[in-house]
């Protein structure tokens, strides 16, 4: 990692395009951190990403690496196809909660279960952002969304899915961590987790998964600053922030 005294420069792996995300959106932050990781590991020129359907569908406008679209939810399967065809490339999928944990749950679980040596970045912000703030599989109990107008009722709508815990029941994953974009410390932790995930792949170790609890100020209906609080308090209470799997072994907190 860069030492503070070397200053900070915009990551070279980001394009000059202005990102379309709302002010304070976690996608922007993770894009930036991901670009820093591509820079630091010097893997930009051998990385192929897979973008989701959802707010991050335009990810290919923002990264100076090759990126493919995928059908909604299929990013892990598409990433599997790319990685199997080009085993020496670094392949990541970047997916939101609807894409990864609802429509794409099957592809997510089975790619992890095969131990595909890819990196899956999971942006969990508890809502479908692009379509207008509908209920996601990770929406908190009682949380109001466009499709849970009186709050998510677990009795009829289910409970928020904990993806890290679910994937941690599998034997093949090598690295699983949940981090929270809840402030400066969260930024540092997220960067570190992304770095570890990509290092896992660079060193040929196996499947890596990073869940980022991420702010969506627009659909949380609060300021960016308050949305960080929502992430750090409400979300982190439901989704414990920790390392679940390290070097192929489950870590018990």
């Amino acid at each position: 990692m860069k030492t503070p005294t070397s200053g900070y420069q915009r990551p070279a792996s980001l394009t000059d395009a202005a990102m379309h995300y709302c002010a304070g959106c976690g996608h922007s932050s993770v894009h930036k951190l991901l670009a820093e990781v591509l820079d630091e590991l010097e893997i930009r020129e051998r990385t192929v990403g897979v973008a989701p359907v959802g707010c991050a569908v335009f990810a290919y406008f923002y990264f100076k690496c090759d990126i493919s679209e995928a059908a909604h939810g299929r990013a892990a399967a598409v990433a599997t196809g790319i990685k199997r065809a080009l085993p020496d490339r670094i392949v990541f999928s970047y997916q939101g909660d609807g894409d990864l944990a609802a429509i794409g749950l099957t592809e997510t679980v089975h790619a992890a279960n095969r131990g595909e040596p890819i990196t899956v970045i999971f942006i969990n912000n508890t809502v479908y952002g692009m379509t207008g703030g509908q209920m996601a599989p990770t929406t908190l109990a009682g949380q109001i969304t466009a499709t849970s107008p009186t709050g998510r009722n677990p009795a009829t709508m289910g409970c928020p899915i904990r993806m890290c815990e679910l994937l941690n029941t599998l034997e093949q994953p090598y690295y699983i961590e949940r981090v929270a974009l809840d402030g400066h410390g969260g930024m540092v932790a997220t960067k570190k987790a992304l770095l570890t995930a990509f290092q896992t792949q660079v060193s040929g170790k196996g499947y890596s998964f990073v869940e980022v609890l991420s702010p969506c100020p627009t659909h949380f209906r609060c300021s960016p600053q308050d949305s960080l609080k929502f992430v750090g308090q409400k979300m982190a209470a439901q989704f414990p922030v920790r390392i679940f799997r390290k070097e192929g072994v489950p870590v018990h907190a």
Binding site: A18, P224, Q225
Partner: protein
């Protein structure tokens, strides 16, 4: 020898989310009363020469709009 830094904010990238402002230990950042071309009130530096180079503001900025430059 003490290093010197300067905070450089790309006004046109800034979306005015204000996440950079509270993290500065020296309170060198504040919201501008003027707007950029996209209509956001942007973050700007006050007493920019006092920057310690901790890069917390740059880390917080989702848009990578803040750079911390070494000043010779």
């Amino acid at each position: 020898m003490k290093k010197h830094f300067r905070v450089a904010i790309d006004r046109e990238r800034c979306k005015g989310c204000e996440l950079c402002i509270p993290v500065c230990p020296l309170h060198l950042l504040a919201m501008s009363t003027t707007m950029n071309r996209k209509g956001y009130h942007v973050s700007e530096t006050v007493r920019a020469a006092e920057c310690l180079g901790c890069i917390k503001c740059a880390r917080m900025c989702p848009e990578a709009a803040i750079e911390i430059l070494n000043v010779p």
